[in-house]
Assembly symmetry: C2
Homo-oligomer: 596 residues x 2
């Protein structure tokens, strides 16, 4: 390389007219117009137009003539104003171009398998295989630049408030009571494995025991789970823990961080303070512990109204301890039978056995249940549902859980279909008072909803002995537009409460020590009151970048099947490597098997 860059091409502007510049980058596009060659030169900063006039430099023109898309070049030239009719207002550098006197061809390029431009419609697997080319596209590049800004902002914010970035181990101990661990074989310890951390939970609590008082880390976490579309086997967590700080003060600080972050990165002003809602209220009103409150269409309980209705399904459900709730799809009275059938199919995915409906048409009320309801019942329902002519009322009768899940999701679905959800609006809220434990039918015991170190609400502690499922935890989620952005809790720091908690989970003291011994031992040496939160960085960036897919926020992501299409990982390894690890494969796998 002879020509050394003096400027970034995408940052050239009118103020530089007349200046000689040296640029380097990739050929985005080349056009030959009446002897003049025009090249769109791309570097990280953007795109600038080069003009190569054979009358000014024959040599440069000869080089330019050979250039193809994605060739790497350096050029020397003068910044000149474009003629008025060729000014491009859609381009940052659209008022100028560079009149080239010298071109250095640095590297050639094969024709890429897809166009290096935004909004391409190609199979994602091709994008993943050629990720290095996909990342050249503006929207992908900008997402990663945004991600850099997000972590940089968060780190500096936390640093300002005295949180210390402390690294915790990646090679650690397999922990019970969580998702599946990724296991790392150990050459020096036959039969022993490290586990990759699902979160730095235990270590961050140990750091509080150590007295660091305020800790943070932007760190990788791992889960060997069946992957859903929005999960990755490795993901990044902004992990924060503090001691001696009242919960409200800590939550305020987290709000302040989000306010600053959104302002700094996308110029959006978040409203403060964040709305607060208990878990119970969120479930009742939205059928979700991460409600999207950008629109209404709340769930209304009509159980009281229909508990003695002639409609057997309603009556029986309520008698059996279930409930009947509905949502009001405003203005949808014109939905056809077929439309409603489709919605019925939709709620069935969430376990609902049916979808009852009332359509408030101009010419009277129609619907699947109209014939079973008395006039008074219908009137009361209309009042409760705030219904008026033109509305479509949709009901699910089932257990509390199924009703919430089915109607909560139906609400979101209709919100989207009816365009009720404003874009570029960010509605934050805290969900608080999560249940501490829930009963696991399979294991026939209570399991921790958050983790076994979550502090119960003080006034609920007596319930640990009598009705654990009623105990509310000092646990909280930060929710944004229907996504859980982060979750945390205060931790138990008193031995007797911790023992009670293990008791509830059905562990003997011995079992508890077997599972969590080193943490429990640490707690004996002077544990401060502490708590924290962890944010999912990938999701936060996804929302800020307005992407639909976590993979778009990660430079080198894996497929939903935990494959890296770029490198081919995971791969077979040498027998020699396995031997050193004292391992043998038990499954029959053919060398040629393709697993994608």
């Amino acid at each position: 390389m002879v020509l050394q860059r003096t400027h970034q091409g995408g940052k050239l502007n009118k103020s530089l007219i007349g200046t000689e510049v040296i640029l380097s980058g990739w050929v985005q596009k080349r056009r030959d117009l009446g002897g003049l060659i025009f090249i769109d030169l791309r570097d990280r900063s953007g795109i600038v137009q080069l003009v190569i006039n054979p009358e000014k430099s024959q040599k440069a023109h000869q080089v330019a003539d050979k250039l193809r898309s994605e060739y790497v070049i350096a050029v020397k030239g003068i910044v000149v104003a474009r003629e008025e009719e060729t000014v491009n207002p859609n381009m940052e550098t659209g008022e100028i171009e560079v009149e080239v006197s010298e071109i250095e061809l640095i590297n050639e390029a094969k024709t890429p398998p897809f166009f290096i431009q935004d909004n391409i419609e190609i199979d994602e697997s091709l994008r993943l295989k050629y990720r290095y080319l996909d990342l050249r596209r503006n929207e992908m590049k900008n997402t990663l630049i945004l991600r850099h800004k997000v972590t940089t902002y968060i780190r500096n914010f936390l640093d300002k408030y005295g949180f210390l970035d402390i690294e915790t181990p990646m090679l650690t101990k397999s922990t019970p009571e969580g998702a599946r661990d990724y296991l790392v074989a150990s050459r020096k310890h036959p039969g022993h494995f490290f586990a990759l951390p699902q979160s730095p939970q235990l270590f961050k609590q140990l750091l509080m025991v150590s007295g660091f008082e305020r800790y943070y880390q932007v760190t990788r976490c791992f889960r060997d789970e069946d992957l859903r579309a929005d999960r990755q086997p490795e993901f990044t967590q902004v992990d924060i823990e503090m001691s001696f700080m009242p919960l409200k003060e800590f939550q305020d600080l987290m709000e302040e961080m989000m306010v600053g972050l959104f302002k700094e990165t996308i110029g959006y002003e978040i409203e403060r303070p964040f709305l607060r809602m208990t878990y119970q209220e969120a479930m009742e009103r939205y059928g979700s512990d991460k409600p999207d409150i950008r629109f209404g269409m709340e769930l209304k309980d009509i159980s009281e109204i229909v508990k003695e209705s002639e409609f057997k399904v309603f009556r029986n459900t309520i008698q059996n301890g279930g409930q009947v709730k509905g949502i009001n799809a405003k203005g949808c009275a014109s939905y056809s039978r077929k439309d409603v059938d489709q919605l019925t199919e939709f709620v069935s995915r969430y376990g609902a056995k049916g979808l009852a409906w009332l359509s408030l048409k101009e010419d009277g009320i129609k619907g699947s249940i109209v014939k079973f309801l008395s006039e008074s019942e219908i009137e009361q329902i209309k009042t409760t549902m705030e219904a008026e002519t033109g509305d479509l009322l949709l009901f699910v009768a089932d257990s509390k859980e199924v009703v919430a899940d089915a109607l909560g999701n139906l609400r979101l679905e209709l919100g989207k279909r009816l365009n009720l959800i404003p874009e570029n609006v960010y509605k934050f809220l805290w969900i608080t008072d999560f249940p501490l434990v829930s009963y696991d039918e399979e294991q026939q015991r209570y399991v921790a909803e958050h983790h076994p170190f979550t502090m119960p609400r003080e006034e609920d502690i007596p319930l640990l002995d009598t009705d654990p499922s009623k105990v509310r935890a000092q646990a909280y989620d930060m929710v944004l537009n229907g996504y859980e952005l982060g979750g945390g809790s205060l931790r138990i720091y008193q031995q007797e409460i911790q023992e009670k908690m293990f008791n509830v989970l059905g562990f003997t003291k011995e079992e508890a020590w077997d599972k969590f011994g080193f943490l429990l031992e640490a707690f004996e040496y002077g544990t401060p009151p502490h708590g924290g939160i962890a944010f999912g960085l990938d999701r936060l960036v996804m929302i800020l970048a307005n992407r639909n897919n976590l993979r778009d926020t990660i430079a080198f992501p894996k497929t939903t099947n935990a494959n890296c299409l770029l490198t081919g990982a995971p791969t077979f390894v040498d027998d020699k490597q396995l031997k050193e690890l004292h391992l043998e494969i038990k499954a029959k796998v053919k060398e040629t098997e393709e697993i994608v």
Copy 2:
């Protein structure tokens, strides 16, 4: 917890006299003096003295009476000036104390297994087992705070210069041509493994292919190697890569970063520009590619002088292609035969078969070789070695490699013994022009010294065909006080040079593609000139914190045997987990086996 902290105890000072404060933290020490109880209260910020006077608050005194070391408390009180005779000038808060009106006992503590204070002399394994207590000690706490400052500084510096923090995968592909990979079993892909990265090398080069131009990451790397005292199975790397930037400019930037870092964190002014020395010169003058240039005692070649000497060992060594070099231990003529024997034993560890010596005593020259040397030879040696009466000259005759290793280490050893190495002086230099490849006798082929993508010096490219071992790489290390702080190189971006390189390493095109296919394919789509460097963060912090041990810079390190004494990792895992992973253990290991 009722009392909510208003101040950090370690930050109280005279300006707050008369103020009511609420503090929280740990009891460092409790003393009962004539009815008054004095408590040293420790929080992250430091220590402050509390006074509890039973006449002012009987209740507080009663609580204070029960307190023991490491109990967690919160206190309310008034900042008061200490009486003149009790002012403690060795303590940040030594001019004041807090007169306590209220104490809240937050948590009790067992007696720690060692004192929470600096400079304790206890077995490191005990410190590692109770790491959370070890980290309470001032020197450990301060080292981690320093580490935070180091990463914060580096990140902000790199951000300022447009380097983007981009995360690369932890679950990736096992790579050949490096140290041993840690392998991660994959539940969904029987027989397949991910590897933990030894460095993000391939990904950072792909990011350059993508056009990010400037990248950095503070990231964990892994090596399943036999551990030396100063290695950890997981370690942190400051990884930096750039495109389109002249090497000198990049190195200048790295120098500027170090200058700023040392100034910001320890207030030290590094001299710039850094000294530059070729690998060859460093080996000749210091017998090391990471010379400690804080002191002299350079290696001098006397081969020319003694090549025809009567001393057969010298003569034969030189005839067989070896060399004879020496160092001058100034003022050590008084060393006894036994002292020299000890040094001989020392150099034997580095392969030297002997240590010849000349002692320039007041009453004449003594030494093992004096009788074999002519007067003229001795005079020439004295001149070359810049020797004068009182000096001890030490010589090794062997192959170039053994001479360098033995004398290089002897030089360091003597430098320490003779107190020649000034403390708190930081001498940086660049070592450049490393060999590109070296011949591996075991594999009977050339292997890359840095990695297979390292760019040779342009003028040496023809040597790739004729004498590869003579080719100098565009590779460089930043060296500080005898430590390699970081190493990097420019990378090959032209296909034909890359092919030549693989040729030298004995790979067919097919083999090369089999090993590095996805990177080689990426290089076909327009690769910019690029290069970078990686710094070892643990070591950098170790030097800045003036510690002797990498483990002291890591919150939760492993032993040299790759064990975590705190958690017990690695551990056995459930048979169920192994079954899901389709793995079976082949080694015989007893459940009870203790591996430490």
